[in-house]
């Protein structure tokens, strides 16, 4: 079985986000780029399955849509253990165009299981995985918190309101995975890092594709207000604020 893990390149979570060019794009100076955390967990699970001789998983490929600047992140994925990588040389304007590119790659190379993180920490879109499956007209399962292979058949765990269910779909399919798919992300071993340099990264030029949305501009959230203190003799006021101001209860 061949698994494809789609990865996106995002700023490290501690980055202080700043915008440039009139707030239309993110200021990339000083940013440390990392694999999107959900994709990292996804990759970890794929590698765990490959490590298990009984699973039947023969290879794990990573795919990314992005410019040459994403190379370090792709090499990191290879260092963690992916066998090879694919990069579509394209700065995609939206999720739809990313999905269109990846769908082409998958059509050409063929995979049994495609894994996508449920969202990326930059755009929080939750779209690419589902879109890929529709482009390819194959089944998708979302909110996947577990994936195992029993007797050569993939069995997914899908989160539902108030519980979870075990789900089977025929291959090929797209699994849109969330937290729980792997316990913690894998780190690269020394040998992984050394061999990552020479593992193949196949380059694709983008096919013509539309984009359906466009980010016009960004805006910073209002600065976190200082703590609002409530009189300890009147804690009921806190409940009122939580209900009417914060709207969390």
């Amino acid at each position: 079985m061949k698994i494809l893990v789609c990865i996106s390149n995002v700023p490290d979570t501690t980055t202080k986000i700043k915008f440039a060019e009139g707030n239309t794009s993110i200021d990339t100076s000083g940013i440390q780029w990392v694999i999107n955390p959900w994709d990292e967990l996804s990759l970890t699970r794929a590698l765990e399955l490959k490590d298990d001789a009984l699973s039947g998983v023969k290879s794990v490929t990573v795919a990314h849509v992005g410019p040459a600047g994403s190379e370090p992140t792709i090499r990191k994925a290879l260092a963690i253990g992916a066998d090879d990588a694919v990069r579509v040389n394209y700065i995609a304007p939206d999720a739809y165009s990313v999905a269109a590119q990846l769908a082409e790659v998958i059509k050409k190379e063929g995979f049994d299981i495609v894994m996508c993180g449920i969202e990326s920490s930059d755009f929080n879109g939750s779209a690419v995985g589902g879109m890929i499956s529709e482009f390819l007209a194959i089944p998708s399962v979302s909110s996947v918190s577990g994936l195992k292979i029993e007797d050569g058949i993939p069995v997914l765990t899908r989160e539902i309101d108030g519980g979870r269910e075990s789900v089977k779909v025929p291959v090929p399919f797209v699994a849109v995975v969330q937290k729980g798919i792997a316990k913690e992300p894998r780190i690269a071993s020394m040998r992984g890092i050394m061999t990552a340099r020479t593992k193949p990264v196949r380059l694709y030029e983008p096919v013509a594709a539309e984009s359906l949305t466009e980010t016009a501009r960004f805006e910073k959230p209002a600065p976190r207000a200082a703590c609002k203190y409530i009189d300890p003799e009147n804690p009921a006021q806190l409940i009122e604020l939580l209900q009417n101001e914060a709207k969390v209860i």
């Binding site: 700023p11 202080k16 986000i17 915008f19 739809y96 999905a99 920490s121 930059d122 755009f123 929080n124 879109g125 939750s126 779209a127 995985g129 589902g130 879109m131 499956s133 529709e134 482009f135 089944p139 998708s140 399962v141 979302s142 909110s143 069995v155 539902i160 309101d161 108030g162 519980g163 979870r164 269910e165 075990s166 789900v167 089977k168 779909v169 539309e210 984009s211 359906l212 949305t213 466009e214 980010t215 016009a216 501009r217 960004f218 805006e219 910073k220 959230p221 703590c227 609002k228 409530i230 300890p232 804690p235 009921a236 806190l238 409940i239 009122e240 939580l242 914060a246 969390v248 209860i249």
Partner: protein
């Protein structure tokens, strides 16, 4: 031309988020001078369906098929897309919950409709159609223009208020022609959580630290959590001492959570604890030490004895609910 809102049902019933969703769709429809069609798949109770009419749904459609009893993304997307095309819907609204995330992207490709995912306000502009959504995991907001003819919006949970707008609509039930629809998802086992709300799933978490002084003082904290439908948590020293179960320990070396509301009673807010809760939407701190670092991370605070404040809070919540 209509606004289609997909209101999923749970064993035939709807929830608060369904009404929020219909209210939202109704407000969008008003902006566009269109009508709202509420659609649900899977047999729903008649009186449940009628309630959707209270929030602005001009038509309430219940599609039923014995082949569509569990969520099959591919099949449901096709059914919804086909219906949207039949009705000429220009805007399709989902909740940004698990089901919405599963279906909206597939519809987007089927209908070549751009998605505004996790929107938290009504559209800022109609031409170009601009929506407002969270980006960079809450560190920024984006104004996104959807250029396609049909637009899909997924509404972030807890972001829109319920607006009463009775239409008196009568629910319509119809069958679905399932030939030609791929239905490939098999559910082999379902495990529902019984009783306790899982800490990592909870929207509201009520947590206690050393400032609670003794495990015997936990009863009001547990009561508060239960009244708010939240989970209970604790800081590391408390779980180390065995006052609370190990699973409740939140912090760097315990669980890292991001609920909507985190209430910390008698917790000082040391770095290792904050590392586990800093992504919470709202943090409330109750501590007798005015210099406790947790107040720097909290939006609301009470400088006082947790033991004295808790019972008063419990009473206040009881009165409100």
């Amino acid at each position: 031309m209509s606004v289609l809102v997909y209101t999923e049902n749970w064993d035939g019933k709807f929830k608060k988020l369904s009404y929020e969703l219909v209210s939202y769709a109704s407000s969008v429809a008003e902006m566009l001078n269109m009508k709202v069609i509420a659609l649900t798949i899977g047999k729903a109770d008649d009186d449940e369906l009628r309630i959707l009419g209270n929030y602005g749904a001009a038509r309430i459609i219940n599609l039923v098929s014995d082949r569509l009893t569990v969520l099959d993304n591919q099949a449901y997307a096709k059914v919804i897309a086909d219906y949207a095309q039949k009705e000429g819907s220009k805007v399709i609204v989902f909740s940004n919950n698990m089901t919405g995330k599963a279906l909206a992207p597939r519809l987007s490709v089927r209908l070549k409709a751009g998605i505004g995912s996790g929107v938290s306000k009504l559209p800022l502009n109609l031409d170009p159609f601009t929506v407002y959504k969270r980006a960079y995991s809450g560190n920024a907001f984006a104004h996104v223009i959807i250029r396609s003819d049909i637009k899909i919006l997924t509404l972030a949970q807890n972001s829109f208020e319920i607006i009463e707008k009775p239409t008196g609509a009568v629910p319509e039930t119809a069958g679905i022609d399932v030939d030609g629809i791929p239905v490939n998802t098999t559910v082999t086992e379902t495990r529902k959580q019984t009783g306790k709300i899982l800490l990592t799933d909870a929207d509201i978490v009520v947590s206690g630290g050393r400032g609670m002084k003794s495990p015997d003082n936990w009863a009001p904290l547990v009561e508060l959590a239960s009244l708010l439908n939240g989970a209970t948590a604790c800081s590391r020293p408390v779980s180390d001492e065995g006052w609370r179960p190990h699973e409740e320990h939140t912090g760097q070396t315990g669980k890292i959570i991001a609920p909507n509301l985190y209430m910390a009673f008698g917790i000082s807010g040391a770095t290792q604890h904050l590392a586990g809760i800093s992504s919470s939407r709202f943090i409330v701190a109750i501590n007798s030490d005015k210099d406790a670092p947790i107040f720097k991370a909290a939006q609301y605070g009470i400088i006082g004895d947790a033991m004295k404040v808790l019972p008063k809070l419990v009473d206040a919540v009881k009165k409100k609910i």
